[in-house]
């Protein structure tokens, strides 16, 4: 089907466009065999919020670790074996009874990959990016995170090289739980800051 200025040809379906680019780059030797499968596998199985949950659980059970984590997030996270792209400059922000933290990237999709994996679609879509800096109290409530009016909200727009992780408060009634059990309570959303535990 040919197109002209008034009736442009229909856009090829996105999966056909992806396949076309992949085929042309592969023919030129720019996509090594198995490269796509390997990267995809790593983000589906090894890198995700289960890593961040271990960091949070350690901070809840080890006051010295918590102190190191808040002083130098990158180094303390590396102690648990996590690091790499989008995690070279980590800052951890702690929730308290008086203050709630939430992260956003208004310009693109910056997100702490080594501890949270790749960002969910809603984090990258326009409504979240537009609204979280404009009226976070309303948006958080809409997302199920209603905060008392006297709780301060701290929004962190990751617009340069630092990537943020929210350290949620440890829930009441978890005193007897092991570190592994505690990690099981920690959700991705609580480490982005759109949920409380």
């Amino acid at each position: 089907m040919s197109g002209d200025a008034h009736h442009p040809a229909p856009m090829a379906p996105v999966e056909h466009r992806a396949a076309a680019l992949e085929a042309l780059l592969t023919e030129r030797g720019l996509v090594p065999d198995g490269f796509i499968e390997e990267i995809t596998r790593r983000y589906e199985t090894e890198i995700g919020p289960m890593n961040g949950a271990k960091v949070v659980a350690r901070a809840w059970t080890d006051p010295a670790y918590r102190q190191r984590l808040l002083a130098d997030g990158t180094a303390a996270i590396a102690e648990l074996g996590f690091g790499g792209p989008e995690g070279h400059h980590m800052v951890v922000v702690a929730n308290t009874p008086a203050a709630h933290n939430v992260i956003v990237c208004t310009l693109c999709s910056c997100y702490p990959w080594p501890v949270l994996g790749l960002p969910p679609a809603w984090y990258k879509d326009p409504p979240y990016r537009a609204r979280m800096v404009r009226d976070p109290r309303t948006l958080l409530a809409e997302m199920g995170c209603e905060l008392p009016g006297d709780v301060e909200i701290r929004v962190w727009d990751s617009s340069a090289e630092v990537r943020y992780l929210v350290l949620p408060q440890r829930p009441a009634g978890t005193e007897g739980m092991s570190e592994a059990e505690l990690a099981g309570l920690v959700t991705r959303d609580s480490m982005i800051g759109v949920a409380r535990l």
Binding site: P13, T106, Y128, I153, E161
Partner: protein, 230 residues
């Protein structure tokens, strides 16, 4: 075109206010209204469709092959047609950027892409900013320290920047000094590099939006040359 307020480095000269006003990319979404509810899900697959994972890896492969800086790679997304940007998913942005960089750097042609895809293959628009020939001297030591009041320069560069529009001209307080990093405004348009301190700057949401909200602080991470003393 009035460009005297833009320094050799492609970043605003200290103490001046930019007057160039041509391109503010559609990606610069902070504070825009009318988008409605967030389509939130507490858990979801990493990739919804196989092509999403492929698009993600293809952008990394192309950026690596043409040695694009982070700034150039991001800018190849930001140059998308605004209508296409807002009506396509994030991985379609990545795919469009990968194809755009591949065509611009001569790895493939648009005609080949469209022939293989069996239809139109939209690419991002051309770079509007002039190339940065001289990165200029870095400012040396960080000019600000935690506690300092600063104002964000009010300028609208035609190229890539990491200074969001919603804080331009606004006053805030430096709360953290971070490391020294390559200035995106330079690296997106040059092989030269300029390194500056970055800071986390805290803004009172009430001062950003004049809407009376209380107890809300918005922190934005900014390069040294984006700021002036308030």
């Amino acid at each position: 075109m009035q460009t005297s307020s833009t320094g050799a480095a492609g970043v605003p000269a200290p103490g001046r206010i930019g007057r160039v006003s041509r391109v503010d990319g559609i990606h610069d979404l902070g504070g825009m209204q009318g988008f409605g509810a967030v389509d939130h899900s507490p858990a979801e697959p990493v990739f919804h469709e196989p092509w999403e994972g492929r698009a993600r890896v293809l952008l990394e492969a192309v950026s690596g092959a043409v040695q694009a800086s982070g700034g150039e790679t991001r800018h190849s997304i930001e140059r998308m047609d605004p209508g296409h940007y807002l009506t396509s998913s994030y991985y379609e942005h990545w795919l469009t950027a990968a194809a755009t960089l591949a065509v611009e750097h001569g790895l493939v042609s648009r005609e080949e892409l469209e022939a293989r895809a069996g239809g139109r293959f939209p690419l991002s628009g051309p770079v509007q900013a002039p190339p940065v020939a001289d990165a200029g001297p870095g400012p040396g030591e960080p000019r600000f320290a935690p506690g300092d009041r600063v104002r964000v320069r009010e300028w609208h560069p035609p190229g890539h920047t990491r200074c969001p529009r919603y804080i331009r001209g606004k006053e805030g307080v430096v709360v953290r000094l971070d490391g020294t990093y390559s200035v995106p405004d330079v690296e997106a348009h040059s092989t030269a590099r300029r390194y500056e301190a970055t800071y986390s700057v805290r803004f009172d949401a009430a001062s950003l939006w004049r809407d009376g909200q209380r107890g809300v602080w918005v922190h934005v991470d900014l390069w040294d040359s984006y700021l002036e003393r308030a």
